[in-house]
């Protein structure tokens, strides 16, 4: 299998974009949102131009076609992560998926129960659990992180009071990949459910939910070459079946009377309103694209870029990479601190050079506090990034240091 970045780049119209003063775009912000291949945009447009009927609702041809495309996309997603079709719920984003589970657990979590998360979570897998704790009187506990940004697994935090353990599958800041299967085993022994935030895991690594054995896995289509506006909640069927509905309205009902209503089994129970079938068509095309590359190859490509970036940044005086210094159990998010230059200023200089990175706490404020920085600059890599782009990043950082006299 060859992995030819130059060929891949041709599939992504946005990468032809020239930015500031005609500079070619060096897009190192896929961790925020990825670019889309033309095939994804075509699939979405084709839906609107030919099959745009409300899925699940009409008995006419367009609606039938819309339903088939939508359900076909569900099958594609299920296949991609090793799930059954009826274990895949479409939401608007990973964030909604987490909220869905956190809200649906409201009635089964009680004062005295514990919810276990970690200090390295994205706010999307943190604030909803704070809110659940607040609604129910349960206690929020968390694993801390080591100075290298690894999860510090204090197993004494997993007790018979633990109702759910919610953990990131890969940090969006340090790239650290926690030992999910191991934590899951411990959590299950204690009778707790496990939810994994796969927003940065599923786009970048082969994932098999059966092997991980997690109860819930959430992720977003837009970070894996798919359209914005569509996310996924995977749940073991029994785990989904145990949850009451979250968003209610049309389609998810069985019988509605003014006096009360009954609801469909999963996954329908959790999907209400006209389904986002065009976005689902786009996500299916994205998965086909990733499948064509092979997720093992995607992971290997990113590992190579990450290694190159770690090496290059290690050589720049005054630059400190947050998180693991090697690619072992580490994905392609490289956040760093430049001594004497604020991340906003670093990113501004890089932007002027055409290099798109992110500056701030990247929705992981507690992690930044834990690592002793207020904010950081972050580069994230994906299938279309090249070694030359990694080198441009390193050069850009040096230029920023010079510009600010640091």
């Amino acid at each position: 299998m060859t992995f030819d970045v130059e060929v891949i780049r041709k599939d992504f119209p946005a990468l032809n974009r020239l930015v500031r003063n005609g500079k070619p775009l060096v897009y190192l912000d896929s961790g925020a949102t990825s670019q889309k291949p033309a095939s994804v945009l075509d699939a979405e447009r084709e839906f609107y131009e030919r099959h745009n009927g409300a899925a699940h609702r009409g008995s006419h041809l367009l609606s039938e076609e819309g339903t088939e495309i939508y359900e076909g996309a569900r099958a594609t997603v299920a296949g991609f992560i090793g799930a059954d079709e009826n274990e895949v719920v479409f939401t608007k984003a990973a964030t909604e998926s987490v909220n869905l589970v956190a809200y649906a657990l409201t009635s089964s979590v009680k004062a005295g129960d514990e919810i276990l998360i970690s200090e390295m979570e994205h706010h999307a897998n943190l604030v909803p659990w704070q809110q659940l704790a607040q609604r129910t009187g349960a206690t929020l506990k968390w694993f801390t992180v080591t100075p290298e940004g690894r999860l510090d697994i204090d197993t004494s935090l997993i007790t018979e009071r633990t109702k759910i353990v919610a953990l990131t599958g890969q940090s969006n800041v340090t790239g650290a990949v926690p030992p999910i299967a191991e934590v899951t085993r411990l959590a299950h022994q204690a009778g707790a459910l496990v939810l994994v935030d796969g927003a940065q895991l599923v786009p970048h690594h082969p994932v098999d939910v059966k092997a991980l054995d997690v109860d819930f896995l959430v992720f977003s289509g837009h970070k894996m070459l798919g359209p914005l506006g569509l996310g996924v909640l995977y749940g073991k069927y029994a785990a989904l079946e145990a949850l009451p509905p979250f968003l209610t309205g049309g389609d998810m009902i069985e019988v509605v009377r003014m006096e009360g209503s009954t609801f469909q089994p999963p996954p329908m129970r959790f999907e209400t309103g006209v389904p986002p079938a065009p976005e689902a068509a786009g996500l299916a095309a994205a998965i086909d694209y990733l499948g064509g590359l092979g997720m093992e190859n995607v992971a290997a490509h990113e590992r190579a870029l990450t290694a190159r970036a770690l090496d290059a940044l290690r050589e720049i005086k005054g630059v400190r990479v947050l998180g693991p210094d090697t690619t072992a159990d580490r994905g392609g998010a490289v956040a760093f601190d430049v001594d004497g230059v604020h991340p906003h200023d670093v990113s501004q200089v890089l932007d002027e050079l055409g290099i798109a990175v992110r500056a701030g706490h990247h929705c992981a404020w507690p992690l930044h506090r834990a690592l002793g920085v207020q904010a950081s600059t972050r580069a994230t890599f994906y299938v279309y990034n090249s070694r030359e782009e990694v080198d441009a990043l390193a050069d850009g950082i040096r230029y920023a240091q010079k510009f600010f006299g640091a």
Partner: protein, 155 residues
């Protein structure tokens, strides 16, 4: 016009003159099923008896229903097919019908097994109508499973 391939004469006949319709006593289990998108509903009763070899036999299926031509005709055909059959054999017919409905018009239905029900092959090309055709069958399957699990007391 493809309408005739869906609405075959045999279907329209069953629709206009449904067989075994109306709720009857005695029965071992009664269920109520609804199609959530259109509100079509069926109340269905199953009465089992012990067959010669000790296996349960479908003695009677009676039902009351509200619904479209496809759901009405399908329930009628279903009763013709399962009444008098050993429960196991009737389940096999039900499975074959389910398979036919999921075939997207591409199956070669077994006419010996499905008899009049092969007329529904055309329906399987219209995904929105498959639920209609299955409503009565699913109710029968549910009711029979319940009757069987109630400990073999079939009379």
């Amino acid at each position: 016009m493809q309408l005739e391939s869906m609405y075959q004469e045999i279907i329209l006949d069953h629709y206009r003159n449904p067989h075994h319709k109306g709720l009857r006593e005695p029965f071992d289990a009664e269920v109520h099923h609804v199609n959530p998108t259109c509100g079509d509903e069926v109340t269905l009763r199953v009465s089992l008896k012990d067959g010669a070899d000790g296996e349960a036999v479908v003695e009677d299926v009676s039902y009351d229903s509200l619904g479209c031509s496809i759901s009405q005709a399908s329930a009628s055909v279903m009763t013709d097919l399962v009444i008098g059959k050993p429960a196991g054999e009737a389940m096999k017919i039900s499975d074959a019908f389910l398979e036919l409905m999921q075939s997207k018009g591409k199956a070669e239905p077994d006419e010996d097994l499905l008899e009049d029900a092969v007329a529904f092959a055309g329906v399987s090309r219209y995904p929105a109508r498959i639920k209609c055709a299955l409503l009565g069958w699913m109710a029968w399957k549910d009711a029979t499973a319940r009757a069987l699990s109630e400990g073999g007391q079939h009379s």
